[in-house]
């Protein structure tokens, strides 16, 4: 079809009529299970909705997501995202990839986490945490120190045929607040050259080199950290108790309420339980304000060597 482009995002092949600038091109453009992304008519409500929330509705195999004056997205059957742009294209794309796309992952039964991930010799290391905890900043710091980025802001985990959790590759871009960039040593001049995630937002796209700083293939999950800023330093990695590990992981599922209303939480629970049977969960505590991020990499490295 003329004018279409083929991408791959979190292990899903996408066929899009729109330029998805940050997303790597697909190596399997003929994949019959590709997801279609296109501009089109999107209803303002779903007549057969089984759940209606402030920003979205859920029907049997559809999800309608609405941000007034920004965009509407209709996500159908794990096969298609149709969107109507009511604002600027950059904003519509951001919410397509990091808001509507996780809804599609839910439909496909793939576990999406609000997290960042890097490649290590032991496999994928995932950083979960509350908003503002420092997930992207820590990933960025480790990328500065030579690790490869696997995903930021959204991490997708699926089980392979042997039941091993695999972390999918996202895009070679970090999403960082202005303060984080400064903590990472970027000057105002450096920052002025970066593009804001969307107009008016002090959060920026920091591209990493697609060849030397990015891992473009799935990796087995090796370690899951719960990032937890505290008062003291140096950083520590105490284990999360087995009793708390599963609830901790479930808590960091992207759009948890939506997943529940889609009837997907049972499947996610099973995936999460499988992850817990194979992977340890640890806290990663560090000093939240003015932290010396240089101290983080050695602590993580030492922790991983014990695996």
């Amino acid at each position: 079809m003329p004018g279409v482009r083929h991408y791959q995002f979190h292990g899903i092949n996408l066929v899009s009529t729109t330029d998805l600038a940050d997303i790597p091109f697909s190596t399997a453009p003929d994949d019959p299970s590709s997801v279609t992304i296109r501009v089109g008519d999107v209803p303002t409500s779903l007549p057969n909705a089984t759940a209606t929330n402030i920003t979205y509705q859920v029907a049997q195999d559809q999800c309608l997501l609405t941000l007034p004056r920004i965009a509407r997205y209709l996500v159908s059957g794990g096969r298609e995202i149709v969107y109507h742009n009511a604002g600027d294209e950059q904003s519509a794309m951001l919410f397509l990839l990091y808001w509507a796309f996780p809804a599609l992952l839910h439909q496909l039964g793939i576990l999406p986490l609000y997290a960042s991930a890097i490649e290590t010799p032991q496999g994928a290391v995932v950083f979960c945490g509350a908003p503002g905890a420092g997930k992207s900043t820590i990933a960025a710091k480790l990328v500065q120190q030579g690790y490869h980025l696997l995903a930021d802001d959204l991490v997708a985990v699926r089980l392979d045929d042997a039941g091993q959790p695999q972390v999918m590759s996202g895009s070679p871009t970090l999403h960082l607040w202005l303060r984080s960039l400064r903590q990472l040593g970027y000057t105002d001049k450096d920052i002025s050259a970066l593009q804001a995630l969307r107009p008016g937002l002090f959060k920026y796209r920091l591209p990493v080199d697609a060849h030397s700083g990015f891992c473009d293939h799935p990796l087995p999950l090796a370690r899951l950290y719960l990032v937890y800023p505290v008062d003291h330093q140096p950083p520590t990695t105490p284990p999360v108790s087995q009793r708390n590990a599963l609830p901790t992981l479930l808590h960091h599922i992207t759009h948890r309420q939506m997943a529940f209303e889609m009837g997907k939480m049972r499947q996610h629970w099973q995936t999460a339980a499988q992850i817990m049977s194979r992977v340890e969960v640890s806290f990663l505590t560090y000093r939240g304000y003015g932290f010396e991020s240089d101290q983080l990499a050695p602590v993580v490295e030492q922790d991983l060597q014990a695996l």
């Binding site: 908003p131 503002g132 802001d153 607040w177 303060r179 937002l201 959060k203 309420q257």
Partner: protein, 295 residues
């Protein structure tokens, strides 16, 4: 549905003390309530609440876009928290409306507002310490109508709370007529606690449907269990999750009039220039402009 009571104040004005009191009053236990688990009360600016209810990363929304959703989020939150365990909602925002005139804090949800005010002279000292900034900077912030907590570009684990200047914050709440409000001064909480807190309990009586409101013993015990010494002791022992990491402690001194030891005469004059009219209106300055002594 009007069952939510907003605990509104400029920062460092006694909001957490009031929460500790209301939590202890509601719990009526033999031991003081844990400051890290102040039941009956909820800090509703936590970004996780918004992310959860809107099912999205609200860090990607601009402030006006997030504000648009706030009344709906609060209504949904009220629906999710059916029990009395979170009937008092702490905020530091000024009273504001959306462009269509709707208050950000919905009328249909609100039982009332407990508004706490503290002398800006003492607020400046405490706010500087709490935020890890100079007192001059705190005075600048308190005069800045664009000032807010978790403002861009450092917005993180709480949503943005637009506060206006200290004077505008006070007037925004005390002059609005949409929500019933009780006005409480930190200085009266300190030096005249029993009648001051009893009035608050009478105002929020709907929050405690099963409690006899004239139970003075219960009020006195709640006061004892939420005393500054008790709060400080607990923080010293176990820490306080709401403490800003730039400050060494959340509960520093709590003293009325500590500004006399900390502010220069120039700093005092700046605060009087910025806020004298409102200070006079609420009993912090005499008619002739003298600073009122408390205690």
């Amino acid at each position: 549905m009007n069952r939510i009571f907003w605990l509104a104040s400029y920062p460092k004005s006694g909001n957490t003390w009031m929460r500790a009191f209301l939590s202890n009053y509601g719990s009526d236990a033999e031991q003081p309530v844990d400051i890290n688990n102040l039941n009956y009360t909820l800090p509703v600016s936590d970004r996780q609440i918004f992310d959860e209810i809107l099912s999205m990363d609200t860090g990607n929304l601009r402030q006006d876009e997030l504000d648009y959703f706030r009344p709906s989020v609060y209504r949904r939150l009220a629906g999710k928290t059916q029990t009395q365990q979170s009937v008092f909602w702490k905020i530091h925002d000024a009273f504001q409306r959306l462009p269509d005139g709707e208050p950000i804090f919905p009328q249909d949800l609100t039982g009332g507002v407990v508004y706490i005010v503290r002398s800006p002279l003492d607020v400046a000292v405490s706010y500087a310490y709490h935020s890890g900034i100079s007192i001059d900077q705190a005075i600048n912030w308190m005069a800045d109508r664009e000032h807010g907590l978790f403002n861009l570009p450092v917005r993180l684990y709480q949503v943005h709370q637009r506060m206006l200047s200290w004077s505008e914050h006070v007037l925004s709440w005390t002059e609005q007529t949409d929500l019933p409000l009780i006005f409480t001064r930190y200085e009266d909480m300190t030096f005249n606690p029993l009648p001051t807190f009893t009035k608050v309990i009478e105002f929020v009586r709907a929050a405690y449907p099963d409690v006899m409101i004239d139970d003075m013993g219960r009020i006195e015990r709640a006061l004892r269990f939420s005393s500054f010494d008790e709060l400080q002791k607990q923080e010293h022992k176990h820490g306080f999750v709401e403490k800003d990491q730039r400050a060494a402690t959340f509960f520093r001194k709590g003293k009325v009039g500590d500004w006399r030891n900390r502010l220069t005469s120039e700093q005092v004059q700046r605060i009087l220039n910025d806020h004298g009219a409102v200070m006079r209106q609420y009993g912090y300055l005499t008619e002739s402009g003298e600073i009122v002594e408390f205690g």
